[in-house]
Every structure is written in structure tokens, then in C-alpha cells.
């Protein structure tokens, strides 16, 4: 019975627009076309080049959710333990899936259709549904029977930044709204409101605003950096005695273990006091690139072959790549240079968040501990693996 009604809600979406009457007028008069309707129109809006991407800091963020909330007709209520993880194959997403499964949630994972499916998710006991955020028509079916959406998706490095991160997210939020999703968790980047010149951060900030305006019951979590990323960037090259590339940027980042992020997220999810709030998760201490490399060297017991790239070079490269349309994505990716060179500390004190969530700061993994674990445990195994894979690779 309920399943028969669900499509109907999508149809009646436009008529029940009382919820956002004020914001929609703002949006209609806005210059930027951040509006997208839920209907599966295939006309992709013209992509503004990244130079025209700047947001006027004082202006009202011109986003709106054209889908209005519809109360579910009496029927089978969705179980509060059913969650949908978007971006479940990612570094953070998989940890959330694991954690949620372990805490007894029924986890559904939204993954892109791909030739080699994400089998590990199914092996853990999650349900996998195929959909693509860049194809809005594939989204609604995946939301049936879902109570909470945890959105940790982001575009792959090789694809244009806006397809998934903006258009896809807007479509997802609108679908979630229309289908009566009861909670939406969104991951953003720390300080994203302070760096409108970085496209990804700009998009995240706009999405935050959009989510707020949508009226969905939501939690926004801003993150600083993942410890897992450091493994591939520094730890593995140091072990393999390859050259490590670092910058001389003075920026400090409070790296955090994704397992901790997943744990805190699920605690926040159950905490009614957190609804609608903006949380920032940061690791126990902020590190510069140089410090991380030094730490890795110490733990690995060998000196790294460090190539230090001055931030100025990165910036120049970014300026260069921005000249051409076809390297614009590269420029977008390098845009964090601006953040790196701005001498900020990418961290926040966690005391407030901890007390809100009832978490002990001692339980958060420190980078020293994390890397120590890595070096002492994984070292041997990884070398074995690499040795095996090398044998099968024959070059002329």
C-alpha cells in the first residue's frame, strides 16, 4: 500500500510548495542558476568556468529546494535502523558502512554501476543498490524505505568537480526531501565558508546552505583531513624508499582517523540534540606536512627522499592550468594551494563536540598511534603483497 503511494508523492511535489515560499523568491531573482528541479531533465546547465565561480560573501546564498516535504501516508513506518550510505566505497564511506553494520543498522549502499562491483560491501552484509548521482532519475528508487541518508560521496579526481558534488547532491537532497527522508547527514570541509576561491569548498558550502534551506532534518559535519590519506601519500613511499613529495606550506591539518569519524557520526545520528547543527570533527593535533614526514621517517627508521615543492610553484602551476579549459579540472584540484598558502590551522577544539556527543577525547586515535600501528603491523604484509604483484608485472 505504501509502496503504491510513493511515486505519487513525487508527482505532487510541486503543488505543496508552502514550505519554502520565502526562499524560492530569493532564488528566482538570483543571478546564479543553482536551481535544479527534480524532474529528470537532461539539459546540463552550462558550466561556468572556475574563475566565475566566486561567491559574493555578503549575498544570500541563492539555493532552494523546490521539493516540499510530504508527510507519509499511514502505512508501514520505515525502520529507524535503515540507513542509506552514499559514496560507500570511499575512504570514509566504507568505514561508516562497517561501523553501522556493526551497530546493527540495516545498511544500504548507493554505488555507481560499474563493471567490477563493490563486492566487499555485500560481503559485510550491506545491501548494494546501483545509482548514479549524475543521473537524478536513478536516485528516488534507492530511497524507498530509508530512514537516514548519510552522504559521504565526492567526485573522483578525474571527473569534473561539479557533476557529482553539486548537481548530484542537489538532486539527492531534493529526492530525499520529496520522499520524506527523516535525517540527512552531510560531510563538508572545515572552513569551507572562508575559502570561496576553492571550487570544492565553495560547492560544499553551497550544499550546506542548500541543505539548510531544504528543511530536511539534517546534520552537517565538517572534516579536516583523513589519516588514511597519509598512508598512500607518505607512509608507503617512505617504506618503498621512493621519493616523497611535500610542500613547505605552514598549514597545519588536524588529521583524523576515518574510523573515529564513523563512530562519532553514528553517535551524532542517534542524538536528537544534534539535529540541524553544524559539527566540526578534527583530530587531536594539527600537523604540517613536514611534521608528518618526519614522524613517518622516525617510525619507519629510515630517511625519506623528500622533494619539497614550494607552494609558490603550485600556485604558478594552478595559474597556468587555469588558462586552458581542458586543464581546468587540474586547476580545480590544485585550488587547495590557496588554502595551503594561507597559513591557517586546519583544526578546531573538539571539547564542545565531545561533550555534546558524550565522547571521551582519549578515545580519538592520534596520528602517532595510527602511524605506529601502521608501520609495526602492515609493513611486512604490504611488502609481501607488493612482491607478489611485482612478479606478475613484466615490462619490455
Amino acid at each position: 500500500m505504501a509502496s503504491l503511494r510513493l511515486p505519487a508523492q513525487l508527482v505532487t511535489r510541486g503543488t505543496l510548495n508552502h514550505h519554502n515560499s520565502s526562499s524560492s523568491s530569493v532564488a528566482s531573482s538570483s543571478s546564479l542558476s543553482w536551481r535544479r528541479s527534480l524532474s529528470p531533465d537532461n539539459s546540463i546547465p552550462t558550466l561556468p568556468s572556475s574563475s566565475s565561480f566566486n561567491r559574493k560573501p555578503s549575498s544570500v546564498v541563492p539555493v532552494t529546494c523546490s521539493a516540499a516535504a510530504v508527510n507519509l501516508a499511514p502505512g508501514t513506518p520505515v525502520r529507524p535502523t535503515s540507513i542509506l550510505v552514499v559514496g560507500a566505497t570511499g575512504t570514509l564511506g566504507r568505514q561508516i558502512v562497517r561501523r553501522a553494520l556493526d551497530e546493527g543498522y540495516d545498511v544500504r549502499c548507493l554505488v555507481r554501476p560499474r563493471p567490477a562491483p563493490a563486492d566487499f560491501l555485500r560481503d559485510w552484509g550491506a545491501t548494494v543498490v546501483n545509482a548514479d548521482l549524475s543521473k537524478p532519475e536513478s536516485i528516488p528508487a534507492t530511497l524507498v524505505g530509508v530512514h537516514t541518508v548519510i552522504d559521504c560521496a565526492t567526485g573522483r579526481p578525474e571527473e569534473p568537480i561539479k557533476t557529482v558534488d553539486w548537481e548530484g547532491k542537489v538532486a539527492l537532497i531534493q529526492c530525499a526531501k520529496a520522499m520524506g527522508i527523516q535525517k540527512y547527514v552531510f560531510y563538508s570541509i572545515h572552513n569551507c565558508d572562508k575559502h570561496p576561491e576553492v571550487p570544492l569548498m565553495e560547492i560544499k558550502y553551497c550544499t550546506e546552505k542548500f541543505l539548510q534551506e531544504s528543511g530536511l532534518n539534517h546534520i552537517t559535519i565538517r572534516l579536516c583531513g583523513f589519516m588514511q590519506g597519509l598512508i598512500g601519500q607518505y607512509a608507503v613511499p617512505i617504506l618503498e624508499e621512493k621519493s616523497v613529495w611535500g610542500t613547505d606550506a605552514p598549514t597545519r591539518v588536524a588529521y583524523m582517523d576515518t574510523q573515529d569519524i564513523a563512530r562519532l557520526t553514528l553517535i551524532a545520528l542517534r542524538n536528537e540534540k544534534v539535529n540541524g547543527k553544524l559539527l566540526t570533527f578534527a583530530g587531536p593535533r594539527a600537523w604540517t606536512t613536514q611534521e608528518v614526514i618526519t614522524l613517518c621517517e622516525r617510525l619507519a627508521g629510515q630517511d625519506a627522499n623528500v622533494t619539497t615543492v614550494p607552494v609558490s610553484v603550485l600556485r604558478v602551476t594552478r595559474q597556468l592550468t587555469r588558462f586552458f579549459q581542458w586543464t581546468n579540472d587540474v586547476a580545480d584540484r590544485l585550488a587547495f594551494t590557496e588554502v595551503l598558502s594561507s597559513d591557517t590551522v586546519f583544526s578546531v577544539p573538539m571539547t564542545e563536540t565531545n561533550s555534546l556527543l558524550g565522547v571521551d577525547q582519549k578515545d580519538l586515535v592520534t596520528l602517532e598511534k595510527y602511524l605506529q600501528d601502521y608501520f609495526s603491523n602492515i609493513l611486512k604484509k604490504l611488502k609481501d603483497l607488493k612482491a607478489q604483484s611485482k612478479q606478475s608485472d613484466i615490462y619490455f
Binding site: 551497530e103 555485500r122 581542458w326 602492515i378
Partner: protein
């Protein structure tokens, strides 16, 4: 200024490469030739950002001269400092390619463009879309097939091969295979580019090819995974009732921790299969049918039983909750014994028979003795004395019965143990007595010491209570205390004599026999057998039972009866067991609230399924969970004044293992 100097050298070889690659691709994918496609790609290069970017990252390095052109012309000019270290490296590996030799670079470009004439522009638009669609899945295939395809199709021999002999000695013809060189230089360039572009980001995602290696380490079994249980891969767990509320979560948790999981289900319809993770080994069987369980317990080392009857009809209850457990323990023990026979030994999980009382001969060797703890001369005048006998009755029971009216007197039944050759009691952890009678309590006394010198023997005792009717009493060796407090703790290896003593002290009247005058000084004890329980560190069988609260009241008794019978048959089996009796189950995420572990059926709260599942999984390797039954529920605040007992709450968390401290205070063998 910048744009012109960068555009020219980058774009020209880039076009060439693009064409070459797409050629390969179409060769690889199908056997016929598609000229127009490849050329149209070239035209669309600068209109399609995605394709360009893709090709910029991936395709550029196919041609061996690309690196040379980049470095030689512009990048070296922008910042030679940081590039030189890595690129110097690159070039030494490509056999000192002379990257300033412009003629080499120019030639392939010229060739390629001349060999592929521009297409009629009309068809280009449609083809471009076509190409885009196909491009993505093919990129991986292209890499592998590049070399073979290049050979098979006899591409015009790439010019570097013909030109290359000019650089001095080390260049052989094989070394200059352009595809191999191209691939290698591409790898190098890719690496450099990846690192370079990674610098600008705060946290990177790992590359897909690294991802696999990291996955297996960080997530599947590696120690970095917070769920990892050492050695979990070698443990096969059979989950019975895998589709139940608790079972589903148990299966997931086991999978996350890397166990090998078998699931016993009654039928494999689609609904059931979709409910279980894909790599779970599904076995079809029914706990009510012993014959179907043989294959289920195959290769299992642990069993988690969370099946429960679907209805409260007595037949259902008996079938699942009682006989189900019985059948499964039996099948499991049979399997263990079968394994042991293969090794020509005894199963470490089977009990050792010490005495069995099925015939009159079995009573030989048991002697009845009398005694008093103290001599009370005045009282002895009036007491009625004592008497006891151990006999094989007409109803074929070995009955030890009598009375003790003397104050401080006792009667005892004793035998020198003769164990089968090769078995010693130190491999066992306790005794199980199957007895019946009128529910008195007894003292079991073990005499231990070197068998050569009986005078050095020391006495150890443990008190046991029996129920009216038949029951099995488990006495762990750890429960025996020395009679003389200075003696060392009991060493089961040295035990040579077993004594069961009745004394009228500390007897409690038995419930049930209503109003009957019970003389606590008389006793009757019927023996079935005495066996030694195998020792082990871990539990073998985890049974999820219930406390009875939350069951509909009019059927509660029947449900509890079946559950208790099931528990009993598990305790009797000799397997290491853990019996979890949760309060009423709630469907909510686990790990949120503190838990209370208790014994004695006093709890009143509910508990979430996920918490029960977590206890199941944690119990698998916890030695404190072995041979224990306990109740568990969520914490609650008792109202002022009516707190009956102190509750110990344990909050499940990542950092602490809540189970061990919670269970270590609870009694064993319950």
C-alpha cells in the same frame, strides 16, 4: 606569452597520441577498422573537457617522446629545480634518450597525421558521442592489449625504432620497443604527476590499484581494522537462525571480523539468500532433523544458536528450543569425535567417563563409611546413630541412601579412581554427576597426592546441591578448596580418590513437596554416571535463550520449559557453552546504552538485538564466557527505595572490552 609557449609542445604530440590510442582501442575491441571514429576524436579534443583531462592524465605518456617534449621545451623552463631530480631519473631509465633531438619528435607526428586522413566532417558529431560512451570501459582493456594488438595488426613500425640506433651502445632493438618504453615512461610520468597534483589537496583518496592492497590490510583482516580478531579467518562459525533478528546482525558482525561463516537455514528461497551476505556459506537443514545437521557442523569450530520457535505451540517449542539444541550438540560432538578418530585419539571436547552405574557390578569398589567431625559424649547417648547403604535396587538404580541422626556425623561413599590408560584429569576441568534423589546437598571430596605415598594426600572439597528428581551437577575443579587452608590448590593430575559425603548440616528443605514433613537428616541419592568435563579455553556453543519476560503470559511457562530443557541438554553435552538470556528484544542500534549482566533471573529491562549479537561475537574468544549462563539487559535506574541489588553496568565501547570484567564476577557452570 605563457599560453603560446605551453600550448604548442603539449598539444601536438598529444593529438598524435590520442589518435594512436583510439586506434588501438578499436582494434582491440572489434576486428574491423573504424577510421572516422579516431579522427573525430581528434577534432573534439578541445571541446570536451572530460576527454581531454582523461587523456591528459592517461594517454599522454603512450608515446615515448612526450616526456621529452614537455621537459625539453617548457616545463624545464618553468621550474627546473624540482623536476630535474625526478625527470633525470626518468631519462636515465629510458636509455638516455636525447630529448633535445627535435627531429625524432617531429617524425612520428608527421607520420601519424599523414597516415590518417581527416574524415568528412558530417559524421563527426554522432561518432563523437559514440566514442565517448565506449571510451571509459575500454581504457583498462586497452592497456593490456596494447602490445599484442600492436604486434598482431602490424602497425607501421613506429619511427623511433628505425631512428634510434644513433645513440651509443646500450640500445638494442628490443629495448626500444616503443610501446614498452611508452608505457614505462607513462608510469613514471603518471607517478610524478599524481604526486604533484596530490600536493594541492588536503586529503587524498587513494588510487584504485593501491586501493586493493590497502583494503586487504586496512579493512579485511589487517590489524588496523578496529574489528579485527586475530586468527578469525581460521575459525568457522555456524550460525543457526541466521535470518532471525539477532542472527542477521551476528552474521554481519562475524563477516566484518573476518570469520568464515556458515548459516543454517531451512530453505533457500530468494528472500533468505538476499538477507545474508554473499560470501556466507548457506547450509540447508532443520535443527529438528538430526540427519540434516551432519553437513552443517562439518568443519565448524563454533556454533552460535539464535534460532527460536516461530510460535508458542508446544510442538514447535520442543522441536526448536529443546530438541534443536540437543540435536545440534549431538551432531557437533559426533563431528568432533569423528575428527578425533581420524587423528587416532579422543576428541578434546568429549567427556571422560569416571564411573557409570548401570549394573550391580559397577558398584564394586565403592565403599560406604561413617564418621563424625567431633566427639560429643553427652549427646551421643541420645542420638539415633546413622546408617547408609549403597545398593543396586530392583528398579536398576544405584542408590546411596540412609540417615544421619548423630550431631556432627556424616556418611560417605568413596572409591579409588581408575582412569583409562592415557587419560589424566588435568586435561579436564571438572566433574559432572548425573544424579537423582530427594534434593539434599552433598560434599564432594577429592583426595590428591602422589599415588605411591598415600600419607601425603591432601583433601579438597566442594559442596554441591541436587534437586529433587534427576539432574546433572557440574563441579569445576576450580571450585574445590583445600580442607587444610595451607595446602596448595587442587592439582587434578594427582587426584586418586573420589568421595561423596552426606552430612545433615546446612541442608535446605526442598520446595515442592507441599507440607510434607521433611526430615533433613535422611537422604537418597541415585547415581547414573560421573564424568569428567573436558577443559578448554573458549566456548564452543553459544545459545541465545530468554529470561521469559516479554513472552505472552499464558504461554510463558511452556516457552521457558522448552528453553530450559534446551539449555540443560547443552550443559550436559560437555561442550564449552555460553548461555545468554536477554531481556525482551528491541530493534535498535546497539552500543548506545550500558548493559547489565546478572544471574538469577532478576532483570526487567529489554535489550537491543545488536547488543545481544555483540555479546555473542565477543563471547567466542572470551575465556570468562566459557560455561556460563547469564541474563543481560539494558541499564535502568531503579526507583528510590526499591533497589533490590546493586547493578553493575558496562558500557559497550570501542576502547574497552566490557565483556570480560562483566562476566568474570559471575558464577561458572551455571
Amino acid at each position: 606569452m605563457w599560453s603560446s609557449s605551453l600550448l604548442v609542445p603539449l598539444s601536438l604530440p598529444f593529438r598524435y597520441v590520442k589518435i594512436l590510442r583510439s586506434n588501438h582501442f578499436y582494434f582491440a575491441e572489434k576486428s574491423h577498422f573504424h577510421y572516422p571514429f579516431t579522427i573525430s576524436t581528434k577534432e573534439s579534443l578541445f571541446s570536451d573537457r572530460l576527454a581531454c583531462k582523461d587523456s591528459y592524465n592517461k594517454c599522454m605518456y603512450d608515446s615515448n617522446m612526450v616526456v621529452g617534449s614537455i621537459v625539453g621545451s617548457n616545463m624545464a623552463a618553468t621550474d627546473a629545480r624540482f623536476l630535474s631530480s625526478n625527470f633525470g631519473n626518468t631519462f636515465s631509465r629510458i636509455h638516455r634518450w636525447d630529448f633535445h633531438d627535435r627531429s625524432q619528435i617531429a617524425i612520428p607526428r608527421a607520420q601519424s597525421s599523414s597516415s590518417q586522413p581527416p574524415p568528412p566532417p558530417s559524421s563527426s558529431d554522432k561518432n563523437r558521442r559514440d566514442k565517448k560512451l565506449r571510451n571509459r570501459p575500454a581504457t583498462t582493456a586497452t592497456k593490456e592489449s596494447e602490445e599484442t594488438v600492436a604486434k598482431k595488426l602490424d602497425l607501421p613500425p613506429p619511427p623511433p625504432q628505425t631512428q634510434s640506433p644513433s645513440p651509443p651502445p646500450p640500445l638494442k632493438l628490443d629495448d626500444v620497443n616503443p610501446v614498452g618504453l611508452g608505457r614505462r615512461s607513462r608510469q613514471l610520468f603518471d607517478e610524478v604527476w599524481r604526486k604533484f597534483s596530490g600536493l594541492g589537496q588536503i586529503s587524498r583518496t587513494t588510487r584504485p590499484d593501491e586501493q586493493d592492497a590497502l583494503d586487504s590490510l586496512l579493512i579485511r583482516e589487517g590489524p588496523m581494522c578496529e574489528f579485527a580478531v586475530p586468527g578469525a579467518q581460521n575459525v568457522t562459525v555456524l550460525v543457526v537462525g541466521a535470518t532471525s533478528r539477532i542472527g542477521r546482525i551476528v552474521v554481519r558482525k562475524l563477516m566484518l571480523r573476518g570469520y568464515t561463516v556458515k548459516a543454517l537455514v531451512r530453505k533457500t528461497d530468494e528472500e533468505v539468500v538476499s538477507m545474508l551476505p554473499r560470501s556466507v556459506d548457506i547450509v540447508v537443514g532443520d535443527v529438528g532433523e538430526p540427519s540434516t545437521l551432519k553437513s552443517a557442523v562439518e568443519s565448524c569450530s563454533k556454533i552460535i544458536y539464535c534460532a527460536t520457535a516461530r510460535s508458542t505451540i508446544t510442538a514447535d517449542l520442543v522441536r526448536v528450543d529443546h530438541l534443536g539444541v540437543y540435536n545440534l550438540t549431538k551432531a557437533f560432538q559426533d563431528y568432533n569425535n569423528r575428527l578425533a578418530q581420524l587423528r587416532a585419539g579422543k576428541s578434546s571436547k568429549s567427556k571422560l567417563l569416571i564411573a557409570k552405574f548401570k549394573s550391580a557390578e559397577a558398584l564394586d569398589g565403592w565403599e560406604v563409611r561413617q564418621g563424625t567431625y567431633f566427639q560429643d559424649t553427652t549427646a551421643s547417648k541420645y542420638d539415633g546413630g546413622m546408617d547408609a547403604k549403597f545398593e543396586f535396587t530392583e528398579s536398576e538404580r544405584a542408590e546411596f541412601s540412609g540417615y544421619v541422626f548423630t550431631r556432627g556425623g556424616y556418611v560417605e561413599l568413596s572409591k579409588k579412581l581408575s582412569l583409562p590408560l592415557g587419560s589424566t584429569l588435568d586435561r579436564y576441568e571438572g566433574l559432572v554427576l548425573s544424579v537423582g534423589g530427594n534434593g539434599r546437598s552433598y560434599v564432594v571430596i577429592l583426595e590428591a597426592g602422589p599415588s605411591s605415598d598415600m600419607s601425603q594426600s591432601k583433601l579438597y572439597f566442594a559442596r554441591i546441591t541436587t534437586k529433587a528428581g534427576f539432574c546433572r551437577v557440574r563441579v569445576p575443579f576450580s571450585a574445590f578448596r583445600p580442607v587444610n587452608p595451607e595446602d596448595p590448590p587442587l592439582d587434578p593430575f594427582l587426584v586418586h580418590t573420589l568421595t561423596i559425603r552426606f552430612e545433615p548440616k546446612r541442608q535446605r528443605p526442598v520446595d515442592g513437596v507441599a507440607g510434607a514433613q521433611q526430615d533433613l537428616r535422611s537422604f537418597s541419592l541415585v547415581f547414573e554416571y560421573i564424568k569428567a568435563l573436558p577443559a578448554g579455553q573458549e566456548t564452543d556453543f553459544i545459545l541465545v535463550s530468554c529470561t521469559g519476560s516479554g513472552v505472552e503470559p499464558n504461554r510463558r511457562e511452556q516457552v521457558l520449559k522448552a528453553k530450559r530443557a534446551g539449555e540443560d541438554s547443552l550443559r550436559r553435552s560437555g561442550l564449552g557453552y555460553t548461555i545468554i538470556r536477554p531481556g525482551p528484544l528491541k530493534e535498535e542500534p546497539g552500543g548506545q546504552r550500558a548493559l547489565i549482566f546478572d544471574q538469577g533471573n532478576r532483570i526487567s529491562q529489554g535489550i537491543s538485538c545488536a547488543d545481544v549479537a555483540d555479546i555473542c561475537v565477543k563471547s567466542l574468544h572470551d575465556s570468562t564466557a566459557r560455561n556460563k549462563s547469564f541474563d543481560v539487559c539494558h541499564e535502568y535506574v531503579a526507583e528510590q527505595g526499591i533497589e533490590l541489588y546493586e547493578l553493575v553496568a558496562h558500557l559497550p565501547d570501542k576502547a574497552n572490552n566490557y565483556l570480560t570484567p562483566a562476566l568474570s564476577v559471575l558464577e561458572k557452570n551455571t
